[in-house]
Symmetry: D2
Subunit: 384 residues, 4 copies
Amino acid sequence: MKRRVCVVVTARPSYSRVKSALQAIAQHPNLELQLVVAASALLDRYGTTVDHITNDGFQIAARVYMLLEGENLVTSAKTTGLGIVEFATVFDNLKPHVVVTVADRYETLATAVTASYMNIPLAHIQGGEVTGSIDEKVRHAVTKLANFHFVATEKAGERVIRMGEDPKTVFVTGCPSIDLAAQVKARPQMDFDPSLKYGGVGARLDSTNGYLVVMQHPVTSEYEVARRHITETLEAVRELDVPAFWFWPNADAGSDGTAKGIRVFRETEHAPQIRFFKNMGPEDFLQLVSHSRCVVGNSSVAIRECSFLGVPAVNIGTRQAGRDRAPNVVDVGYDRREIAKAVQAHLANGRPAPSTLYGDGKSGQRVADLLATVPLSIEKRLTY
Amino acid sequence: MKRRVCVVVTARPSYSRVKSALQAIAQHPNLELQLVVAASALLDRYGTTVDHITNDGFQIAARVYMLLEGENLVTSAKTTGLGIVEFATVFDNLKPHVVVTVADRYETLATAVTASYMNIPLAHIQGGEVTGSIDEKVRHAVTKLANFHFVATEKAGERVIRMGEDPKTVFVTGCPSIDLAAQVKARPQMDFDPSLKYGGVGARLDSTNGYLVVMQHPVTSEYEVARRHITETLEAVRELDVPAFWFWPNADAGSDGTAKGIRVFRETEHAPQIRFFKNMGPEDFLQLVSHSRCVVGNSSVAIRECSFLGVPAVNIGTRQAGRDRAPNVVDVGYDRREIAKAVQAHLANGRPAPSTLYGDGKSGQRVADLLATVPLSIEKRLTY
Amino acid sequence: MKRRVCVVVTARPSYSRVKSALQAIAQHPNLELQLVVAASALLDRYGTTVDHITNDGFQIAARVYMLLEGENLVTSAKTTGLGIVEFATVFDNLKPHVVVTVADRYETLATAVTASYMNIPLAHIQGGEVTGSIDEKVRHAVTKLANFHFVATEKAGERVIRMGEDPKTVFVTGCPSIDLAAQVKARPQMDFDPSLKYGGVGARLDSTNGYLVVMQHPVTSEYEVARRHITETLEAVRELDVPAFWFWPNADAGSDGTAKGIRVFRETEHAPQIRFFKNMGPEDFLQLVSHSRCVVGNSSVAIRECSFLGVPAVNIGTRQAGRDRAPNVVDVGYDRREIAKAVQAHLANGRPAPSTLYGDGKSGQRVADLLATVPLSIEKRLTY
Amino acid sequence: MKRRVCVVVTARPSYSRVKSALQAIAQHPNLELQLVVAASALLDRYGTTVDHITNDGFQIAARVYMLLEGENLVTSAKTTGLGIVEFATVFDNLKPHVVVTVADRYETLATAVTASYMNIPLAHIQGGEVTGSIDEKVRHAVTKLANFHFVATEKAGERVIRMGEDPKTVFVTGCPSIDLAAQVKARPQMDFDPSLKYGGVGARLDSTNGYLVVMQHPVTSEYEVARRHITETLEAVRELDVPAFWFWPNADAGSDGTAKGIRVFRETEHAPQIRFFKNMGPEDFLQLVSHSRCVVGNSSVAIRECSFLGVPAVNIGTRQAGRDRAPNVVDVGYDRREIAKAVQAHLANGRPAPSTLYGDGKSGQRVADLLATVPLSIEKRLTY
């Protein structure tokens, strides 16, 4: 009998991170993929990730609307609670042998709690990393609930073990998100026009002399200043006068502050060099990043995929604090001058050497092979 | 302004464990207690703990029914999810400065997740211990969500720090449950008759020559064998032919198996020496324990309070595996002969020396003083 | 393409009522049955109806644990709310063309609300009847949400039309519960021994000279007096000194009061003529009823099935007030003397003539044929 | 002891409708107002009604986030279910003597179900009206759950009675929303500048020669065509070339279709005569309506308040079908030419005579007086 592997995808970035693993699981002779799509991954306002998923050929075992509207701290908690209620029914009906949860978004804890409480072995991708904000709490709490740890880096693996996890359950697979980057890297040039394919709003960009990519998410525990933060970045990019592809933030507590900052800027300021996008297919997005001259903001893409792709990155603020870095990243504060200066330095220096710090492009297959072969158990105990 | 301290009590044993801390918080000049009573603590089938709470003079800020019926793994998960949904509204309306969660029952994670996600500083009582089953996952996950750790023993504190928590946030307060034991210990003799005050069903006991106290909870991850386990203990106690006060199990996944075992035994077997009780007030219960000749089962009371009281204990099975022990405890398997033999040895040897391993009787006040004075912060990060 | 018909079964009596319709739907060439089993129908404490369902050969499309523990008014409301949350996901994944809801238990409103809000045509079985308590509100609210009304009696159909429903959507199908009664009636004698097959607790009955069947549910809006009510009936039956098969109440608000009354009676009183059962398979139960000398309590079985079977019935209190009656029913108050006297009169008079007031035994097939052929629409409007 | 009256406000229009009743309740010597604010009334995206409420001096007893994001049929159902779960806790803690629910928005059923199930007498404002879509089902289902009916018109009262409600429980109070209109009508001229006070986006309007007010909500059961519908209205208003104040739709299933239609129109078309607003305070909004030359769309304001104010209205489509009308209303289809023609006819004809069809301006006080004096009971039964 095939092992039933249930993967819960709740958001756009989570899908990008596990897509190669999903493909490897679906194609593995000893595994059956049960894909649950939930929360913002179902919603138009966040780019209807579910359509990308079905276009990529995946069957969906269950869809679960669970995102409370409000994008504040109360609704983040409620969304997570509702997710547990719903996933319990979904798992009870699907009867998976193992559940996979990805990274550290707040609602991923719902997957982890439900699987743990239902005595279903839980595998966690991307544990052991260190960052700021609520993600930090979520990530390590998931580690303490998980039975298997598929970590991205050696250091992440060491941290998981130091937290008291059995070394036999910790596997440095690299991050599956790098697999996609590896495929994209192999292509000589972009095979689509972003504005034609995805629309977007704002300026029509002439990107023949290079362009920036900007993604800046609100920092959950600094909710009220989200709008000021985004404004600094908007001003920096306007000043730089380099064409910029700008992506709207995820469905996090505080994204309303960020979104309002962007909307007000668009209504009141001239920004002839910025075009705003909701979402792109994961490969298209990575192609865009891969050919950019610099990535700006606080997305983990700047630190993970860009390290492998050799794309310069300016990381703003505390969201990625503590995450292992390759030399492609420069850190700055929420200050338009600092941001602009760091981008200019990158533009002057050109592309750094690529790094395999976060993976070598074969992580998805490793994850699938482990899911097919590890002895499944729910027993665990602190090692000290 | 007083700090508002919200404590969530979800079950009978949790109340006993924090009662002295609740009193110290309620009386502290710089603290305001917001007591939330939820889940099985509201239900008649589990002893209506809420009545004991109001009889003890506490005001209740909110009551939350959240326990799904079924006592299986699916309903444990759902109860926790529903708890998060509800506590989010409760905290949003009460606006506490700090939230306190107790120990490691599955539904306590609901308190921890909600407070964390709402950026309310979270204090955890009784982290850093090691046991079997799902409690182990819950306890350490709560540690990774908590900002302050009020641990019972030095070793527990060390474990919390090794998991990557900042030593400045870890306080060895002892366990508040010992405070109650200290009060009870000071009294010369029992001031009530258990059967007269609490009724119970089964034999009328003559306990003038001593008696046993039995509490055996199902072990969550071994659901199907719960009934066999309880039957071994029932047979052992019948064979011993010493009067026994027997307490029904908590509302855990599997307690139906345990409960059915007890019910069938009562219907079909003669057991003239056993009387069954649902619940007692915490002091009354500790008086009963304190004057008993031996405590039998798998309750943590046998290991914590009995160490302080100097009461011999026979601990059955894996539920308390890994928990620090004083010399009063003997461990046995789920085997009627082993159980009976260990009890007889204790009866022959008499009472062991008391131990302050789990506290000195002043933990509640320490907890309250810390809640009034620690700098409140929600920021944390792995220390390595 | 077959029409997908989703039927939600939430409790033991609902299953008995629709079983023949479920069979007719499952066998209909133009229909596909999607059977959802939820709430107390999944729970051991209420007789594990789900096992009877699968033993009868039905496939289950989804199982949904949703019953909040507590059996009070707060938890009835919450169970219903949780049901809506869950059924929305279930319907979204099953995509039924029509949803069927049965009768008037509080949680059936969850099915009705969810289907209505999701623009799925809703068929209601057993609308238009009149009774006491919260059922009355629920039943008529479901009528106002439903698009098709499969009513049991002519009078019920008239009431539904008077409430403003389009006469073209009202069908007097009879009640499918009568179909089962018709099958059972065709058998010459009982083909099982109740105590051997179902166990039960209490007296060993000698029923060769006839027996009673007792079913008494708590009346929701008279919660606190439930225990007193049940005690009157217990005393009456003891006094009658005729063997009695007694069934535990459903999962309603207040059943704890009823259940406690029964338990205390069993512990403290001698009742050598009563045996208590949790549940039986629907056919077995109807066989038992069919051969009984009198049915006592407040179950609708006394009024529906017993009218068709020609079994005398004593109906206690307000629960069935307003329901159309055949001559087999005598109504009494919550008074041991009244109850005993009415039973004795029945025993003296023997069996009344059977009636087809509630159906002729072919209702299930009629319901299935209508589900296969009615034009499906969600539009409706008050007719005046 | 004062009667505790709990009113649940879930959306902007509901607040406008009951504001005068809320004031009368709050000031009544024998009543205590318990105001619960929930769902979209808490959200910035729908105009943060809660701020208007607190600015008006009301105390808020509880806030409940419960709106699932998605604005589709699945999330409407879930929002309602979640509301029941949450309101059960809120009512259990507030212990109201009577609960008031308003009109027929889908989530108002949550209030009605919870109060009914908890045996709290339920008063319904605005029952007995007839319209299209899901509102129709919701309104009459609430009627069947309610114990008291405060209806707006004589005809509405007759319909409620024909549905089987006891005439003694039906009161023609008029609609409290008219009270606000009466206050506003008494003022000689507008006391604020809409764009200065509320911002808005789009054209700067010169309204000295008169203006239109447009409010068009999606029609729930025609979800996919919402965008086409709104486009017809947008085109009609552009063609008319009269300044227009345009309000964003409520949080209903389908408003994304409507909202997208508006956003695309704003991005791609020139509309120098339209300014878009999220929300205004109820009085300000009615002032704006009162001085307008015509109200366009499918809001019930056009039919209710405008009849009293004597403002011409063009009602588009099926949303208000069946509602009683005064002569100020002209009905048209979803067709730009029809819409434009009807507006032009109104502009040519001037203001119609005011009507008291929906109230005389004293409804709020009537509602409060009834809440203070009606015998409170939860018993009800179909009258036929």
